[in-house]
Symmetry: C2
Subunit: 521 residues, 2 copies
């Protein structure tokens, strides 16, 4: 035995004694999952697998390489989440190590990347372009479609200050979404820039550190444009707004000139990115920061056009403010535009399936100096549910059929049945011996439940003749369903397809013949 980990045991030995006396009816444990967690069966796993492979291929095509970090990090690594003793699990799942240091389950893939880059900074190629996927955990109240464990798929470029890095990630997002089966016109990549908004706010007289709270009110007001319309947002930018229930929301108390400037900005999106850029250039006025942001967006538009993405798939949209308080430069959001019904049955856009932006403070927490970085995160489960809605081939790709099932008609002949299974497996055909103790009908029902196409039967009659019966379970179901509506010849032909006897030596050829009748075997 090598030094190190002892071979995997199925269960830790110190549990054995504890468990052996637990088995009695009066003392059973309820089989249940904690809220906000879910099991996944073969169809969902296969779809997820195909989807992840497609994303991985797209990211590698764009020059990103794989990296993986563990699920557990020091709590301080993840941010200022040092749990207080009263609510140690606020937002994240945390626990103390045996040396009293706090550990947490990662809640995204960005903070661990920052730790990884900072720890291995000198040996990494720079810029460092990486992708990673995996589960993240949120200790929040779960709800419908809202889980406490869910999967993200991220790509980041660390160490590049160039907006070419941001433009590339927007184009990669577009490319990836199309590879997943979303058609052009069913999605849009929206781009904004924190510096442009800051410039507009500066031009509106809202600059300086003391204005942080007021800025936040402005951001939140803009985010409500969809819901409240221009008039509602105008109130929130000004004196405040009373909603239908009579609740009053305090406003940002801006002058009416400042309000006009902000609303002009939010309305700057035009049908052509270049016109949007011109509108934004006016909105930021003489603000240096604003002009810098507009120049960055203009450069990104140039790169989109040079790469064949100048056809409206990627849109400069100043109404995107999500995350703007956090990001430091360009922000982007991938939105699916097809309609679905909301909880009240009203048609709404499906909405965002991913987003990201430039955050130059990413690695700075560890290295003490800013390191430019930009990245993008896909919400895998949410995107998968979108792909279901549009019947993407990724999810509709017919589920893999079940294995060929060799029935057990006589328990004393199991070794003989096992030779049939072995022949099939040696030929690369998924196959199994029925391992239960039920009779023939239940065995055939089992094969149906597994989604099998084909079953092999040998009773004592067949055995004496050196024969086996091949059952085509799909044709068999057709016989049962359609017998009444068929003429006799049709019926007999179908029946002959559904079940026929062959010599034992013909097993492989006959099974192959049946499997070839159906796709996605």
């Amino acid at each position: 035995m090598l030094p190190g980990r002892s071979p995997p045991t199925r269960r830790k030995s110190n549990q054995v004694d504890q468990m052996s006396d637990e088995i009695n009816k009066s003392n059973t444990v309820k089989a249940r999952l904690p809220r906000g967690l879910a099991d996944r069966g073969p169809a969902e796993l296969a779809a997820t697998h195909r989807m992840m492979n497609a994303i991985r291929e797209s990211y590698e095509l764009h020059g990103f390489e794989a990296v993986e970090t563990p699920f557990i990090e020091y709590t301080e690594t993840l941010g200022k989440f040092l749990p207080d003793l009263d609510r140690p699990n606020e937002g994240v799942f945390s626990f103390q190590d045996d040396d009293e240091q706090w550990l947490s389950l990662r809640y995204d893939l960005t903070a661990p990347l920052a730790r990884y880059v900072a720890e291995h900074f000198d040996k990494l190629p720079k810029p460092y372009r990486s992708y990673r996927s995996g589960f993240v955990f949120r200790n929040e109240k779960p709800g419908p479609g809202r889980f406490r464990q869910f999967m993200q798929f991220d790509a980041d470029t660390v160490g590049s200050a160039s907006v070419a890095a941001d433009a590339e990630i927007c184009m990669m997002a577009s490319h990836t979404i199309e590879k997943l089966g979303v058609k052009r016109g069913e999605y849009v990549i929206k781009v904004n820039n924190r510096k442009v908004l800051d410039g507009v706010l500066e031009a509106a007289g809202l600059s300086g550190e003391g204005r942080a709270a007021q800025k936040l009110i402005v951001l939140r007001a803009i985010d409500k444009l969809d819901r409240l319309g221009t008039d509602g947002v105008r109130l929130l930018l000004g004196p405040g707004r009373k909603d239908e229930s009579g609740d009053f929301t305090k406003g940002a108390d801006l002058s009416s000139a400042a309000i006009d400037r902000i609303l002009d900005f939010t309305a700057a999106r035009a049908s052509d990115n270049r016109i949007t850029i011109d509108n934004l250039a006016k909105a930021v006025g003489s603000s240096m920061q604003g002009q810098e942001g507009v120049a960055e967006l203009a450069e990104m538009v140039r790169l989109f056009e040079a790469s064949g993405y100048g056809d409206g798939r990627i849109v400069i949209d100043p109404s995107v403010v999500r995350g703007l308080e956090y990001y430091t430069g360009p922000v982007y959001e991938a939105e699916l535009t097809f309609e679905v019904k909301d909880e009240h049955g009203r048609p709404v856009r499906f909405g965002s399936v991913g987003g990201g932006g430039r955050y130059d403070g990413l690695v700075a927490r560890f290295r003490g100096e800013p390191v430019p970085a930009t990245g993008f995160s896909i919400g895998v489960s949410r995107l998968l549910s979108a792909l279901r809605l549009i019947n993407s081939p990724i999810v509709t790709g017919e589920a893999m059929k079940g294995p060929v099932v060799v029935l057990v008609m006589d328990q004393s002949e199991i070794a003989r049945y096992q030779t049939f299974v072995a022949q099939l497996r040696n030929a690369g055909i998924r196959a199994e011996l029925y391992l239960g103790s039920a009779g023939m009908n239940a065995q055939l029902k089992y094969a149906d439940k597994r989604g099998s196409v084909c079953a092999i039967i040998q009773g004592s009659n067949e055995r004496d003749k050196g024969e086996i019966i091949i059952k085509d379970l799909i044709a068999g179901a057709q016989v049962a369903a359609a017998a009444k509506d068929m003429d006799r010849n049709e019926y007999l032909a179908l029946k002959a397809r559904a079940q026929f006897a062959v010599a034992e030596t013909g097993l492989l050829a006959s099974v192959n013949e049946v499997l070839a009748r159906y796709e996605s075997w």
Copy 2:
């Protein structure tokens, strides 16, 4: 926007304010991982990916279907681990939910499967044949090669009492290990049976519940056969043994007839499974339980032979006692037999990479009645390190080459360079624009660090002529290394291969020409 989860943000918004003021040199966080956790880079991830795919294919060939459970379960689901308040994390990572219930990270894939089967019992096909893989967590002292997060790959058949289920898993283990590149003769699947041992103990006068402690001493003594030899174990089965340091280990105090019977049992392994079975039949004497166990092993041997596994790959070996106190019937262990050096430089067998057995109490904790079950677990990381030692194609398969790198010789021409990148990507060639700000030599070093085969360069001279320079980085390295030892014609030929100018329109053809020179692009 659909109801439910809000679109993925890269970071929780409540952290933003906390983080923005953290960035200054005096207040940095150390970038480090907690003990016993590890990051994984692209080469290891690619090898793991190939390995997991091979295992998955083998398991599906054998008729097992995928299932996945979450990482977090109720602590009571996992076993009687209810944390006491002084040491809440003994063995497992545990934390309290906001409703005070204890949650834990799974420490294996078996306990969650039991919960899953019990929860969905009525809708599952029975027997239920499933596989699952993923990380498990142990809150233990880490050591070399011993991690607190590691990966397992399990397969289980639940609801079958037939030893054909056990035999199948042994054969599947053999098939899988060979698919991973381990040659016949470099591994063995060892099989034993709890009932045989119990029968031998019964025949030795050690039956009855009051003898549990004594039985455990016997099991532990047998487990030391390798290290202590027959004489040492004889002492441990009898009065006890003093080791070299003078420490005394209490013995099982068996009669010398009983000791002989047990040592006959441990020596029962013969070169042929059928002879071993005969030896075991003698060792269990008239014990009913022992005879039942021997009959089960005999039936398994018959099935191995019927399936073409009768050639010594699977061996009945009574010295396997690992887990026997836990399992209720057949147990099996996959052992790699090639030699490696232990920590003292002595040659030892690599040892176990997986194991399992029949445990009919698996689902009973939840359902109150025994449900027959048998399963197998592979230690993925340990197996991967074994595959490295034998240079399996799974791990040696040449690492994917890096993307084609388009150099940036003039920042104002980025859009032009981007068109080159877009052309390559549209042709399915992994490619990227250099996104940093360094000069040409550093850019070429970057491409080397990425493992790239090919770089594209266009300075102002080339641009004026409508040309690009294609650099073959591998040939370039050969030129640099071998220039002195070459005659002038050879040198010039190699140099012409390593770097040449073509018209811009020849980009794709020339890159394809360079890539075709090398494998595993």
